[in-house]
Symmetry: C2
Subunit: 192 residues, 2 copies
């Protein structure tokens, strides 16, 4: 039996990321889980919904580049800290060790995150309260420890999945079935 529960956003869990920016000459980091995948291809576009009240926005808008860092479960404390503290009053630049790639000094990377992407700002979509930054992936870096044959092993990344209903970060579970494969049994049955 279904119940109507208002206009609840049920598009969870979502992947927890940490955006790296340079604001007023200082590396800044903000936790963002309101993310999206726009397409599948090259150029590859990703979206990040950031409230206009945040400090990071001006860095992204000015420099037109930012980093996307994927924290593992062992960084949950730091990840949450980046989300609850504002760069307006808190220097978050030395919480975790950072690095930069040549030419992308305004997209500081968090070395302890097993995966980092550098995105250039492709578009900004204006909503009432949020800037939606559409990043185009420029380069992706991954720890050898989370790679299997140059491909990312998501179980080893052990990402933090955000859920607004429980207000918790969740872990990834187990593989369930193959994509573009599990449905073949039904296809065969339908064709009989």
């Amino acid at each position: 039996m279904k119940q109507q529960i208002g206009k609840t956003n049920a598009l969870y869990p979502s992947l927890t990321t940490i955006l790296g920016t340079m604001v007023k000459g200082r590396p800044n980091f903000i936790t963002i889980a309101h993310v999206g995948i726009m397409n599948h291809g090259d150029p590859q576009y990703l979206s990040f919904g950031v409230s206009k009240t945040h400090f990071s926005n001006q860095g992204i808008l000015e420099n037109k580049v930012f980093s996307v860092n994927i924290p593992s479960r062992d960084l949950v404390t730091e990840t949450d800290y980046f989300g609850i503290m504002t760069g307006k009053t808190t220097d978050k630049s030395s919480v975790l060790e950072t690095s930069v790639m040549d030419g992308y000094e305004a997209a500081p990377l968090l070395k302890r995150c097993p995966v980092n992407m550098i995105c250039k700002l492709a578009r900004t979509i204006d909503f009432e309260t949020h800037d939606i930054f559409i990043g185009e992936i420029v380069a992706t870096y991954a720890d050898e420890a989370v790679l299997a044959d140059t491909k990312i092993d998501i179980a080893k990344v052990d990402p933090l999945l955000f859920d607004m209903s429980s207000l918790k970060y969740w872990s990834l579970g187990q593989p369930v079935a193959g994509a573009w494969n599990a449905g073949k049994a039904l296809k065969k049955k339908q064709n009989e």
Copy 2:
């Protein structure tokens, strides 16, 4: 040690959804995991990246409404089937039982999905190969079995999480820590 791995999209896992549309007078369903959360508020906007080659796009563009159905793990076969078969040549309307809400006949709901959202089309963002449909949530419905005090219990939803690297659907794991809470220990430490 980090390795550069091209421009790999590492924004996974993403939530697997099934969009319900009405195309040429027939309910159609397509599996979409390239989804996004734009903002947090009311109106609440969500994004769905759908290749322009798909059959569903014309239904969304014509009717300006669609449903977002969240399948549980037990529907993995049907979910994958909706993704590998095209509505151009396959009638997918009777794979799972459907229902409609008054006034939203062009947004057919899948009754066996524990959560359904009806979205009206707020904007379409045009990318080279994909239409990005920005839906504004109009109403959300949830099975009583996945509700705890009118809130969605994501563990009970048992969603399918898509990963492009492994080409698999994954399950949700366990809670790790409280959001907007786990970082407080570090905040306290930094203030000492």
